[in-house]
């Protein structure tokens, strides 16, 4: 009986969460649709959430590209298929790891910042102050962050793809003596322009998801500093889980079950 009670309570909580996120998305979307956008604040957020995340995104991508190359280059060479290494790195980076790892890193850095900032504003009554002044917290806070991430995440993903391929190329050259030209030729042959475009589309979705989830968690803060910490952790964990789930669904839509669409 108690288990049923817990299951029911959990299901209700999940539905309430989903409804809240959907409602926040709709409200933010309505401001964007009516062009009620604070341009200056959007640029400021694009700089803070996007530009300032560049270094960690590039570092993560560099090592990801290098590790794919490290694992595959010598194996491929020993089987006489070294011409596949460049393709493997480019294929995996453009389709999956580029957009997904960029989103995960940005969720960890920028998403946590969004949840903590909005959460602190809730605790210090700044959100209520906005409402008392007749201003919408969604328009003032969520819309600039949403647009900033939707614009910046695809750009970061392009950089991530490029740096991953360069890292992979460098390592393939130095550990398995695969020439730069052979690596680049392979990358061009096995990854299509459409893969990069689809990777950027994924990044757009992930950007929106991080902004809305983290803002929602921030608005839900209760109970002071401890509440802010809890909401920040929840925002990052929820965002990362949803990024993985959404990535799977988008890959299924973009590439089908054979993975070659």
């Amino acid at each position: 009986m108690r288990m049923l009670d817990d299951v029911g309570r959990g299901t209700l909580g999940l539905l309430q969460y989903a409804g809240g996120v959907a409602s926040l998305s709709a409200e933010a979307g309505s401001f964007v649709g009516r062009l009620r956008i604070r341009v200056g604040e959007t640029f400021a957020q694009a700089y803070f959430l996007g530009v300032q995340s560049t270094a960690i995104v590039l570092l993560t991508s560099l090592f990801t590209g290098m590790v794919i190359s490290l694992e595959s280059a010598n194996q491929a060479k020993s089987y006489g298929v070294s011409s596949l290494v460049g393709g493997a790195v480019a294929y995996v980076s453009s389709r999956e790891l580029g957009p997904m790892l960029t989103a995960v890193v940005v969720a960890g850095r920028a998403g946590a910042a969004i949840a903590a900032e909005i959460g602190s504003m809730v605790v210090t009554e700044q959100i209520e102050a906005l409402e008392a002044l007749g201003l919408s917290p969604v328009q003032m806070l969520v819309v600039p962050r949403l647009l900033a991430l939707v614009i910046m995440l695809p750009l970061l993903t392009i950089f991530a793809d490029i740096i991953a391929i360069l890292g992979g190329m460098y390592l393939a050259h130095n550990t398995a003596q695969i020439s730069y030209s052979e690596f680049i030729e392979s990358a061009r042959e096995y990854s299509a322009f459409g893969d990069y475009v689809k990777g950027m589309l994924k990044a757009v979705v992930f950007g929106g998801l991080i902004a809305v989830i983290c803002s929602y968690q921030g608005f839900g803060v209760r109970g002071g500093a401890a509440g802010v910490g809890k909401a920040t952790t929840g925002a990052v964990v929820t965002s990362i889980i949803l990024i993985f789930m959404t990535n799977f669904l988008l890959s299924l839509v973009f590439y089908g079950t054979s993975g070659t669409r």
Partner: protein, 251 residues
């Protein structure tokens, strides 16, 4: 007897299972200072939030300036809030903006004034609360009393018809408390506005209140002038005013 600026009629409000207000009725007199007193958690701050539509009652009716807040459109609610200033307990200034930018915000967002006109009004308003030289400072650089006064300045910069003060003197020394009490009285007179003040500070209330309402267990149990309240036969009111541990109020 002056007319009512706002009325709360038979309002009930719950937060989850907790009943905050139970069949609560209160009249806010126009162009007067009405102080709300009561135990911590009695629902005083909630009444302030009902008056500017930040909270919606589960039952009952709230009307402000002759208009019923029930079913009021979002646009009308925004218009109403521009006429009601709100000074928060901890000032609630936007910590990424300077004091001047905080005070200018309502004007920048809701008026078509030029930057020069806004700057002049902001400086004048800051001067009226004794903070003319704090315009370019950040909230984190100010003392508690200065923060409260900056919050007052933001609340009154649009010349509102009513100002709501949430515990304006809590946690401050007696001198600053005196300064803030005088500031509230002076602002009310200057704006010719209505003021509602939530406070625990009885000395400050005696000095500024035209009317006092006491809230207990979700309802108004006493209402009148300071003298009428002091003479109230209600033992709960007397225990509260005397700050006594002995009496009907459960500790």
């Amino acid at each position: 007897m002056s007319a009512n600026y706002a009325t709360i009629e038979s309002v009930t409000l719950k937060f989850g299972e907790k009943v905050v207000l139970q069949n609560c009725t209160l009249e806010i007199k126009e162009r007067a200072i009405t102080c709300l007193i009561g135990l911590s958690g009695a629902g005083k701050s909630t009444i302030l939030r009902l008056l500017n539509g930040l909270r919606t009652p589960d039952a009952g009716r709230v009307s402000v300036g002759g208009r019923d807040l029930r079913g009021m459109s979002a646009r009308d609610l925004v218009a109403l809030r521009q006429k009601i200033g709100f000074a928060f307990q901890f000032a609630a200034l936007f910590d990424s903006l300077t004091i001047g930018e905080n005070v200018a915000m309502p004007l920048r967002e809701h008026s078509k004034m030029t930057r020069k006109e806004i700057d002049a009004i902001v400086l004048h308003t800051l001067d009226s609360v004794g903070l003319a030289n704090a315009r370019d400072r950040m909230p984190a650089e100010l003392s508690g009393g200065m923060l409260k006064r900056a919050g007052f300045a933001r609340a009154v910069v649009t010349n509102p018809e009513c100002v709501l003060y949430d515990e304006p003197t809590t946690g401050l020394d007696p001198i600053i408390t005196h300064v803030l009490t005088d500031t509230i009285k002076a602002l009310r007179k200057k704006l010719d506005s209505t003021a509602v003040v939530v406070s625990h500070d009885l000395e400050s209330i005696y000095a500024m209140a035209d009317y006092v309402a006491m809230l207990f267990e979700g309802a108004i149990i006493a209402y009148g002038t300071v003298d009428e309240l002091k003479r109230s036969p209600n033992p709960i009111v007397q225990q509260f005013l005397q700050g006594s541990e002995v009496g009907p109020i459960p500790l």
